[in-house]
């Protein structure tokens, strides 16, 4: 009976392939999750448990003391609020402007062949090369250490990213839908808002998540352009590494807190995220 035998061979092969696949995925998951676990667990460890050998995998007496210290003594809460303000505003501005710019580039070939690439090329500049002029400009324009200043800086920093993600997205949307809308009596502006943008929603969501995370984790600009008032969450972490030693518990408590908005955002848009990213990747 050759048939069943062949089935069994291919069944075995399938099984082996599946085991291999799960091993690879499992290893990757461990690689990603173990550091996260360590951060979360350290944030509730008493300081005596930080660096013991063998390591403490779960503290006998969990404590929330590092959270109160990080959020209040180290002004972590203020940093969190500042970060939320700056990141949300920059995300909205960058996504809206990026979507409109990308549409213009994709549909009207604005600026000829090279403008789209020129926009992207802004990302090639090392931040350190432009930080000094920006710092001086911000000082003279009274934007230094303000939310508004930081929002402006981050909007322009992330625009190339959102423009390019949306550019790739719009280019794969069929033109005939907007043409139908134009013939149907819509203006270009209406066709953009009522037809093109709703269809590009997955791309907008993906771009917005990227921009938010980029701004949320940005350290260098925040460090130079803010001090006591508009400082963001990443800059707070400096305080935990002093010459007297490291405040592991406080650092981990603040790190855990800072994960929350990204996770919520990711869950809100994850339905769109995969489609938005893959389409961009295929055409980009």
């Amino acid at each position: 009976m050759p048939g069943p035998v062949r089935y069994r061979v291919s069944g075995m092969r399938n099984l082996r392939a599946n085991v291999a696949r799960f091993l690879v995925i499992g290893l990757f998951v461990v690689f990603v999750l173990v550091p996260l676990y360590w951060v979360v667990i350290t944030s509730i460890k008493p300081s005596s448990d930080y660096l013991t050998v063998p390591p403490v995998w779960f503290p006998a007496a969990p404590t929330m003391v590092h959270y109160t210290a990080a959020l209040f003594s180290y002004r972590g809460l203020q940093g969190l609020i500042n970060s939320l303000i700056v990141a949300s505003a920059a995300t909205v501005l960058s996504s809206v402007m990026g979507t409109m710019m990308a549409y213009s580039l994709a549909r009207f070939n604005t600026g000829g062949q090279h403008l789209a690439f020129w926009v992207l090329s802004q990302r090639f500049l090392p931040p350190v090369a432009i930080i000094l002029p920006i710092f001086l400009l911000f000082r003279s324009w009274h934007l230094y250490d303000t939310h508004f200043g930081l929002i402006v800086a981050y909007t322009f920093m992330t625009l190339p990213l959102s423009v390019w993600m949306m550019y790739a997205y719009f280019r794969q949307l069929p033109k005939s839908l907007e043409e139908a809308a134009l013939v149907d009596g819509l203006s270009r502006w209406q066709a953009f808002w009522m037809v093109a943008v709703p269809l590009a929603a997955p791309g907008v969501a993906a771009a917005a998540v990227f921009v938010f995370i980029a701004v949320w984790t940005e350290f260098f600009f925040a460090l130079i352009l803010t001090s006591r008032y508009a400082f963001t969450l990443p800059t707070v972490f400096r305080a935990f590494l002093g010459f007297q030693g490291a405040q592991y518990g406080e650092a981990c408590a603040l790190a855990t807190t800072s994960l929350v908005p990204s996770i919520i955002l990711g869950m809100l848009v994850q339905r769109h995220l995969v489609r938005g990213l893959t389409l961009g990747a295929l055409r980009g």
Partner: protein
């Protein structure tokens, strides 16, 4: 309702001259079909009328008004696209009503109009569905509904049936024709399918390489093609083209097929404008070539003997391929004809319906 007048229209895409000086006058209420092989400029011409392409030279008038610079939305034309172009994020009702909503029409009137359009097309029960939940034919109906709900001055169709399977295509074709009879608005329809062109059109405009090859009523183009190209494009199976030489005698003109093939005497009075011994192409439609009747050949018919090479039955009739002076000739036989390949039979050729062409210019003689 409006007429459409196009004068000396040119459109270039970079180095490609897609439309080369087209003059076309479409009267109000006429069903005009733009037909031609792919790349002939028919879709481009349609898109310039819609305002989706700018024009380089010439004028487009709709209802006596030059619309060259007018935006698509102000031209009051409706267009049905080849891929339907339904908005995937809107329901059928949303798709059909978008143009009315964009115009800020009152809600009750929108509902009334959508309902009427949906009833006309038999898509009433689908109004709450999304395009992805519809079949091809239903999508096409929605696309047409989106056009008729506005009562536009002109309808434009860009190969609307080419994505449908054969059976649905026949069905939708007759529906589009019925629609035109009901609303009697000017319609301009682009297709590469000569059957669609023949069945739908009041007037066919046959395009080739960006110019009009011939225009007129379908039967005029079919029976009096102005060129080899028109003759070959319309009709299925294709017209037979046989090359020969012109002979003149006391009886009138005749064509000798090939170098030593049979001589076919043209009907009296038919005297092509070509020199003695000039090369000509004789065009014969398969339906004008058939098995000889028992009585002798009628006036204007030529009778020859030839061997059947191939028989292709289609059900309603059969097509037999002969060889005449070294050239293939397809003839239409009755469906129940019992001839077999290899048989020699007598064939009557109706030369009164034959067309003659100049092989150098391709024009009719």
């Amino acid at each position: 309702m409006a007429n459409v007048k196009i004068s000396a229209l040119h459109k270039r895409f970079g180095g490609v001259h897609a439309v080369r000086g087209i003059d076309l006058d479409i009267p109000d209420g006429e069903f005009t079909v733009l037909v031609g092989p792919s790349g002939c400029g028919k879709s481009t011409l349609l898109r310039t009328i819609a305002g989706l392409e700018d024009i380089d030279e010439g004028d487009i008038e709709i209802g006596g008004q030059v619309v060259n610079q007018m935006r698509p939305r102000d031209r009051d034309v409706a267009m049905v696209f080849q891929d339907y172009a339904l908005y995937p994020h809107m329901t059928v009702a949303g798709n059909i009503s978008l143009s009315l909503r964009a115009r800020r029409m009152a809600k009750p009137e929108i509902e009334e109009r959508v309902k009427r359009a949906a009833e006309m097309l038999g898509i009433g029960p689908l109004l709450g569905r999304y395009p992805r939940q519809l079949f091809g034919g239903q999508r096409q109906r929605v696309a047409i509904g989106r056009a008729i709900v506005r009562n536009p001055r002109v309808f434009l169709f860009d190969e609307p049936l080419s994505n449908l399977d054969a059976q649905l295509r026949d069905e939708m074709r007759s529906e589009i024709k019925r629609l035109h009879q009901e609303i009697a608005t000017t319609m301009i329809y682009v297709t590469h399918d000569q059957i669609e062109a023949m069945t739908l059109a009041d007037r066919i405009v046959l395009l080739r390489d960006g110019v009009i090859e011939q225009q007129g009523a379908p039967l005029d183009l079919f029976e009096q093609p102005a060129s080899l190209f028109v003759a070959g494009f319309l009709g299925s199976p294709k017209m037979n083209f046989l090359t020969g030489r012109l002979e003149r005698g006391p009886e009138g003109s005749a064509i000798r097929l090939g170098d030593s093939g049979p001589v076919l005497t043209l009907p009296r009075g038919r005297s092509p404008a070509a020199a003695e011994d000039a090369r000509v192409i004789l065009g014969l439609r398969p339906e004008h070539v058939g098995r000889a009747q028992a009585s002798g050949p009628a006036e204007g018919m030529a009778r020859i003997e030839a061997e059947i090479e191939l028989i292709q039955p289609t059900g309603s009739r059969s097509y037999a391929t002969f060889r005449l002076g070294g050239q293939p000739l397809v003839a239409e036989l009755q469906a129940h004809d019992v001839s077999r390949p290899g048989e020699r039979v007598a064939v009557d050729i109706n030369l009164r319906r034959a067309a003659l062409f100049n092989p150098e210019t391709g024009r009719a003689l």
